[in-house]
């Protein structure tokens, strides 16, 4: 065959552009879908957007699956993509636009929930699942360690799911910040527990020694404080750089984004908590850089961040739906039911127990209704799903079962809890957030009251959050601001 190729008038090389093309198509489809939901107004009133997106994902998945267009893999949610590209924008947006005052006023409660409640859930769910398996109520016999592997990934409340649902229902600020803060700050615990369990399976259950647990415990502090520190450092660097951007205003938003992302990547590269790095990076960065940047840049940052976060969230939920259809499944009703049951039981007991504890010290107590919403807000989402995907099938033969069970639990929390939470909030008359623009008077008198309360706290010799704020402000004004502004 000695045919010479003639120069072609038109050629078609889809391979060349496939990846970016598919990504763009995805974003396009997801965003058009979102517009579609809002065109028909009744839908978003009944269903949260996340439910609709998952459903759409399922539909697309079914189409791809039966037309045999999808060669699996490529179109499912990939853990790497998730952790490197989809998750950071959402967390950064949340950290950057964190209502700081509410967050730090409730930080004790949030931390206690994030750490103790996550541990309580992990241990509780793990032990109970093992117990059920031991008693034979769950037919497949699973070792204790593997039960813990599963419970460590399913216990944590997911910030993406919580944001998606709670942004829409607009409960009062305290309730919102507690549930949402917990979902962000529990990342440290989740990362440690997950890596610890993962590492333990590699060592093998019989070779474990006390020292491994001690290391795991110590690692917790490194992961948490390391992640936070990296975030704070990058935040400060960002603040310092924006001090000198007076003449190149267009670059200002870029620094905010690049440094935030670098903070996340740095933390991830050391297996520290990337979410904490982003959260605190965002908080610190905003505190100073907004004072340095032009108003236009601030607005740009805000909109760009919101847009990225929104797109990420949209894609995550569609992908979740899609992956469900395309992945192969190992559905064990007994395991699924018990997991779901224990997730609910330990969430509720943990919240009740810890609320009782914090109520001894809190000025505004968490009422029974608050506790109910806090338990109800314990949504699981994409993070758990991707952690399950990351499990190594060689070490953990139950991987597929875990993935399927996680999917069911994510669906349950997003659909059942997500759809019913609004009616529940209405029925229980939970106090809602109000949008108010503060007047000059309110601003000044509030500030006045803050100083007053700090003073009174100092006089009675109690360091409450007012006096801590006061001290922070003082040292901030004296030492940090001259450097950074």
């Amino acid at each position: 065959t000695n045919q010479t190729h003639r120069y072609k008038l038109v050629s078609f090389k889809f391979d060349h552009v496939e990846v970016p093309y598919v990504i763009c198509l995805w974003i396009l489809l997801a965003c058009i879908a979102k517009i579609g939901f809002h065109l028909y107004d009744k839908l978003p009133h009944v269903f949260p957007e996340s439910c609709l997106l998952i459903t759409l994902g399922i539909l697309v998945g079914v189409t791809l699956f039966f037309t045999e267009t999808a060669s699996s893999g490529q179109y499912t949610l990939n853990a790497n993509t998730f952790f490197l590209f989809l998750l950071p924008p959402i967390i950064y947006d949340a950290g950057y636009h964190m209502p700081n005052r509410a967050f730090f006023n409730n930080i004790g409660t949030i931390l206690l929930l994030a750490v103790v409640n996550t541990l309580w859930n992990t241990i509780g769910i793990g032990v109970c699942l093992y117990g059920m398996s031991y008693l034979g109520w769950i037919h497949s016999s699973i070792s204790l360690l593997h039960c813990f592997v599963f419970s460590s990934l399913i216990s944590a409340v997911d910030p993406v799911a919580v944001l998606a649902i709670f942004e829409e229902i607009q409960v009062n600020e305290i309730l919102y910040i507690i549930v949402f803060g917990e979902s962000l700050l529990n990342d440290g615990v989740t990362v440690v527990l997950y890596h610890m369990m993962d590492g333990f399976t590699e060592i093998g259950e019989s070779n474990l020694q006390i020292v491994d647990f001690v290391t795991g415990f110590a690692q917790f502090f490194i992961v948490v404080f390391g992640g936070t520190l990296i975030g704070v450092v990058y935040g400060l660097v960002g603040a310092f750089i924006t001090k000198y951007t007076d003449h190149v205003r267009v670059l200002e938003p870029l620094f905010v984004f690049v440094l935030g992302y670098l903070a996340y990547l740095t933390a991830e590269s050391m297996e520290l908590s990337g979410i904490l790095a982003l959260t605190f990076g965002g908080i610190v960065m905003r505190h100073y850089s907004e004072l340095n940047m032009a108003k236009k840049s601030t607005t740009t940052v805000k909109y760009f961040m919101k847009m990225l976060a929104n797109i990420s969230e949209t894609i995550i939920f569609m992908f979740l739906g899609l992956s469900t259809v395309i992945d192969s499944h190992d559905f064990r009703p007994d395991f699924v039911l018990f997991s779901l049951l224990f997730c609910l039981v330990f969430r509720v007991t943990g919240v009740m127990m810890l609320s009782w504890l914090v109520n001894q010290r809190r000025l505004i107590r968490l009422s029974a209704i608050d506790q109910f919403i806090m338990s109800y807000g314990g949504l699981r989402g994409g993070i758990a799903f991707c952690l399950a995907l990351l499990l190594n099938a060689e070490h953990i033969p139950e991987r597929q079962m875990f993935v399927t069970t996680t999917t069911v639990i994510v669906f349950f929390t997003v659909f059942v809890q997500g759809i019913t939470i609004k009616p529940v909030v209405n029925a229980l008359k939970v106090e809602r957030a109000e949008e108010i623009d503060t007047s000059m008077n309110e601003m000044i008198h509030k500030r006045f009251i803050d100083h007053l309360m700090a003073g009174v706290e100092d006089i009675i010799g109690k360091s409450g959050h007012n006096s801590i704020f006061q001290r922070f402000d003082y040292y901030n004004d004296k030492f940090l601001k001259p450097w950074l502004l």
């Binding site: 010290r361 809190r362 000025l363 505004i364 108010i436 007047s439 000059m440 008077n441 309110e442 000044i444 008198h445 509030k446 500030r447 006045f448 009251i449 803050d450 100083h451 007053l452 309360m453 700090a454 003073g455 009174v456 706290e457 100092d458 006089i459 009675i460 010799g461 109690k462 409450g464 006096s467 006061q470 001290r471 003082y474 004004d477």
Partner: protein
Amino acid sequence: MGTRSSMLQEEEISEIQRETGFSSNQIVRLYSRFTNLDKSDQGFLRRADFLRIPELAINPLGDRIVHAFFQESATDTVNFRQFMRVLARFRPVKKTATKNKLNDREEKLKFAFKMYDLDGDNMISRDELLNVLHMMVGANISDDQLGSIADRTISEVDLDKDENISFEEFVKAMERVDVEQKMSIRFLN
């Protein structure tokens, strides 16, 4: 520690309890703080005793807050009863509790208002407001800017157009602020 100041009589506790609504544990606790501050050990506090608190030194309103204690006593010393009366304003408001315990919304607001109103004419004048603004913002903002902030603040609530903020106008301005919560401290038992 002298015997006179370190003893807190049973009947005094119950009297303070009646007047302020503190529990006897809280009173005992605050009393030990009081005696701690009372360096001269005479059963009352002077200005210098307050100003010795290191954290208060960094509070821009530190002097004003201390002054509020002496406004209550109307002399240049503060005894334990007066000390407790001031602190009673900051007790958390309980929905079920009976009123008139010094800690309801009105009392809290009145306390804040009096701290602005140095001359006690029941008005926050432009000068009084400027004074406070000066203390709070430090040297970062120019006098002109502060002046326009003060003008805006007054004109925002000045219903009777007298260029002052009266207590009624102050209450109105704070309508949407959760004063009950912002001006409360959880006193330890």
